[in-house]
Amino acid sequence: MSSLIGFLSLIAATGINFVLLSSKIFINFNINKYNTLVRFSSILTFISFFSLMYAYITSDFSNFNVFQNSHTDKPLIYKISGTWGNHEGSMLLWISILSIYGFFFSFTKKIDIELKKLTLLIQSFLHLLFSFFIIFTSNPFLINSVVVTEGLGLNPILQDPGLAIHPPLLYAGYVGYSIIFSLAIASLLNKNNNEEWLYIAKKWSLVSWTCLTGGIALGSYWAYYELGWGGWWFWDPVENISLMPWIAGLALVHSLLMIRGEQVLKRWIIFLSILCFSLSIFGTFLVRSGILTSVHSFAADASRGLFILLIFFIITGFGFLVFLLKKPETSKPITLLFINKFSALIFNNILMIIATLTVLLGTIYPIIVEVLTNKRISVGAPYFNSTVIPIMIPGFLLMSIAPILSWQTNKIRSARNYVIFFILISLIIVIQSYFSKFNTWGIVGLILGSWIIFASLFAVLTSYKLNFNFRFFQKVNPHIAHIGVGIAIVGITFSSVFKNEFTYNIVEGENFKINNTDIVFDKIETTNEKNFQSLRANFLISKNKKVIGNVKAGKNYYPVSKMITTEAGIFHEWFRDVYFILGEQKDNEWLVKVHVNPFVSFIWLGVIIMVYSGLIGVSRR
């Protein structure tokens, strides 16, 4: 029953969007009709989504999708997250989020009416494309042809709280770019145009960038503790795909900031808007078509992959075609002074786009080579580390001096103080590193990170009156964001350059020592949980003969899908994570791997600060 309701409301929503689109040709609706229709279709899409969720919660196995991806044993949270833990459901989530954005956008007031109409039209066009995709190739409401009482279960690796909220956040980021895309195209098509839409685009771009940041960070944190490899970023194609719209979106957010500098790069902003959404859809295509594991698995999913590829070409082609045909009237001439905020922003924008395109090339290069020469090659972490990071370094350097640059002139404020402090910080770091393990990248990252933190902090303390109300936090927000980046850079540098690994073959009761920490391999415990069996090794951690904590690391066995997952145990401290992985057992001896990852918490702290300032930024005009 719920499947029927879901399917019918999806069809109805599609029908409404169809009516809205064709109304453009036959009758010209007024803006109120537009708003009503868009909201109505959004609500229908939610109903469709929630009826699928209802089918998952009630384990309604008459729905084929539920039967394939759910099981009565699962805890409630994973029944809910199971809704988007599969291809069909995640596409339904995609258009539901598209609808949420459309719904809220329809309440925008301070906007040219024709521009709003056009934007809503493009949104419903996007909705239509993706609804067709769902209805024809990935219908989550198919009826199960046989009567069953039990489902096949959700992939255990997805049964994790982090991964339950990761997809909705990530999609909120990807799909949020659709509003900016529609706005940008609408502004090109609309005749009488002012720059009002840039302010609206700024808000929405911040919303989606913030969601994307949170989504990527959650995914990365999940990889850190669930995969059990000790790292948190692997330059995996799927990660790269989320990174591309993130960097491009960062460039977009920054170029939209230039509205304050009174010099607007309208054409560049429109280009970025189209690029961001195109990259988002391209990412969806690569992941959803299954092209990533191998070019050959494309055949198995041909109709879906081709359909999304078609959607990608329609949207990107349409976007860039309008972009090329309808040039926005050139705004005020650009004057690039030698060094000020404006030219620094332009330079950083260029660097970010080069980084984005490099990630794009590295990700699709193996696919291109395989198609052309039938040879399989890999482009992995070493390539990205030695291309993307050097590209970003001048950008970080500019970031560190950003607070002392002015918008209009070439003058640099209080440069002397900065130079003195920069040299002082660098000296401290260099002397410190002289006494520990030396590493070039470590030095560069640390110096840049602490310069950025210091310069932004200094700017907050000297340039603003310190009174802790909301307006103050809005004003210093850009600096806060940069402090977050600085902290993240320090964390990333430390955790990737100065990490240590130790391997032990030990029996229960034995102990070992890492630096000044004593660790006892206490005992092995096995328990039966609701839908899995768990095996855990308990480690007691003590410093100076005082027990400061314990960590459990081990594996889970999921009988429904006959899969074993690694469950790393992490002992979090402010300045390091001690990361335990339980390996194979030989006779009585267990293989225990211990990673000491310094300053990992700084990465998450930095990200939290960035997300916070993204949210504050939305509230700022």
Partner: protein, 126 residues
């Protein structure tokens, strides 16, 4: 002038430490060489994991093989070439810097050059 001082000093410190770092990293022992190379090799039986990070039988074999070859005095390039011939270039996370992959490696720098020229051209015109 103030800026010049600032940029000069920062560039000099950076350059100095780069060279310092390179000279330090020149003589690593075999353990470190093995680690560095196996980090850049794909474990063919795992999913996107490096040989160094994985404990699969395949990875352990490769680790031993690389170690032996280093002890016999072979260079990193020779070992990579040997592995690429045996398992295909798919095993290398860092593709060879050769004629075929010129575009891959040159791309970011081509982009950088183009955009720099574009910027100079744009600002000159005004």
């Amino acid at each position: 002038m103030k800026l010049n001082l600032f940029s000069k000093i920062s560039i000099k410190t950076l350059l100095f430490f780069c060279f310092f770092g390179i000279s330090l990293s020149a003589n690593e022992n075999i353990e470190e060489k093995v680690k560095k190379l196996t980090l850049e090799l794909r474990c063919m039986t795992c999913q996107n994991q490096s040989v160094y990070d994985s404990d699969a039988d395949f990875s352990n074999d490769i680790k031993n093989l690389v170690k032996n070859k280093f002890e016999e005095g072979e260079s990193e390039y020779e070992i990579k070439k040997f592995l690429a011939e045996r398992y295909g270039e798919y095993i290398l996370f860092r593709p060879f810097f050769n004629y075929n992959n010129l575009f891959l490696w040159g791309f970011p720098f081509i982009l950088l050059t183009i955009s720099l020229f574009f910027l100079i051209f744009k600002t000159r015109k005004k």
